[in-house]
Amino acid sequence: MKDDKTVFGFWIFLMSDAIIFGALFATYAILHGNTFGGPGGKVLFDMPFAFAETIILLASTFTVGLAVMAVNSAKVKKALAWFAVTFVLGATFVTLEIGEFSRFIASGNGPQRSGFLSSYFALVGMHGLHVTLGLLWMVFIMIQVSRRGINKFNLSNLNSLGLFWHFLDIIWIFIFTIVYLMGAIGI
């Protein structure tokens, strides 16, 4: 997709979306020590669990790349198959994340517990919301492609979805590092 203005417009949206995440990361960096007598990241975070989430999301960003590549060489069946794999991986990721959130809330460590947990839920929840919206978008576009094939109307849409998904995994690198790994180190 060379010189596609729609995809470039979407790219500008992604870059401004990154600034929202930047603000949430700054909030987390400032508040992560304010546990108000509650548990910190070192006690709360389940590292093998966070690692599994990371690997699943990384696998999905790879498969969405293969899907978009199939789209751009007009291979409808191949594209749909890779999008389906991406959807399953993404849905698994969201399910794991919702499980983690509900475990925290059930043990009395919801977002209202401390400044640390408020910023944690805001940052990680915002990312989860993005992944969920990406999954919805993927469902709609898969239905459209399976019924009407790939045409000039949905081509830039498909490429934008691919960029969106890659972008979400890049945000996750920093969540995994700054929230989970630094939490486990105890900083």
Binding site: V7, I19, A26, I30, I55, D169, I173, F174, F176, L181
Partner: protein, 116 residues
Amino acid sequence: MRKETKETYSYIIGLVLALAATVLAYALVTRHVFSGEALVVAVVGLAVFQFVAQAVFFLGLGNRNRSGTWNLVVFIFMISVIVIIVGGSLWIMSNLNYLMAPSQVNGYINNQMNMF
């Protein structure tokens, strides 16, 4: 080489680099290979490495065509805005913490109370 084969290779290279960086960072932290400042520097370094690898091999940043150049321009602008927001917030809040250390906080509150 066909365009598609080349793109597939690019994705596989990106995946291998990202996977290696993730596993290495996770192992360094959970196996306590080393600790303190060195560990933090290593983990942050691996994150930045993975960030660049994914931006180049997945997002196709640095592609030498017209839209690629413009993508890069917007990307660099985004990075500078984030550096200002995050760096500025951390700077100002650490200053605030320092200037409003407990004794001064109490003094401040007493001052406010006396005003009424």
